[in-house]
Symmetry: C2
Subunit: 142 residues, 2 copies
DNA sequence: GTTGACCTTCCCATGGTTGGAAGGCGCATA
DNA sequence: TATGCGCCTTCCAACCATGGGAAGGTCAAC
């Protein structure tokens, strides 16, 4: 299997397969005499593992860890679970951050007429953050 | 006001203030004879606007737009609202994506014993995506 | 033998931010 | 006046994951 065929078979672009190889996420592929990378079922399986892990938002670093655990037939499932739980916590933190933004923005947007007049609570909010920002600056010179 | 003082007054790092200037988000600062950037109340206000917008997740490009509308005293609030609503939609899409990941991962983690045995539904899921991926590949050669 | 689709490596760009190096100011203190 | 410290300046590089493209080699079909 060529890199292009492997790409179509896994949904990972050829560019990314080369990249994953270059950073050591996957071992260097066997080459033909002409220098073409060759992929067998084992490599395809690993690439699909990576594809799935990426689709769940795992970073390359976390995938390094997961792949190592996958290869280790004697791993403790607790270790895998720990990686997953850590990632879940990161995702939830990110979600909470984004939801905070949405809540604020939605409130502001709800208060905005959205007509051809210039009065706009959204811009007023963005422009009026002087109080919260300047006060602590004064009373908090470490 | 120096760039360092402006940074402390706004919560934006000096590095980022220079960066915002370099990409044209803010106009080039007035300089002292020695080449030091000088910031007055107007610039501080603008930087605080930017700080607030960034904290709400607006991109630099969106901030370009918002700053232009802010400067235009005759803007239609509808235009501001449109920028905000577009951004809200982006945030919601991102949240939905992350929530999908969390849901899948949480289910897998719930099924994982998390002990010292090697059996792990999480790794099994990551490794078992062959069916969904390879079948459509065969019946879908365009 | 030519063509077209593939492969190779290499460099560059993205976005937003941080880090560091090398050299120039400004001010306080000895 | 000299020294030192902290600030400023510019430039260059890195992060993460991905895409784009150029220049050149290879393979297979016709």
């Amino acid at each position: 299997m060529n890199i292009g065929q492997a790409a179509r078979a896994t949904g990972i672009s050829a560019k990314m397969i080369r990249y994953y190889e270059s950073i050591g996420l996957i071992p260097a592929a066997v080459r033909t005499e002409a220098g073409y990378r060759v992929y067998g079922p084992t490599e395809i399986h690993m690439l699909r593992f990576i594809k799935r892990a990426r689709s769940l938002g795992f970073s390359v670093e976390q995938m390094q860890h997961l792949l190592a655990l996958w290869r280790d037939r004697d791993r403790a499932s607790a270790e895998v679970k720990a990686v997953a739980l850590e990632h879940i916590a990161e995702l939830r933190a990110k979600i909470a951050e984004l939801e905070g933004m949405v809540q604020t923005l939605q409130q502001l947007a709800d208060c905005c007429h959205g007509d051809d007049r210039p009065d706009c609570p959204i811009l007023e909010d963005l422009a009026a953050s002087d109080e919260e920002l300047s006060r602590p600056e004064i009373k908090d010179p470490i």
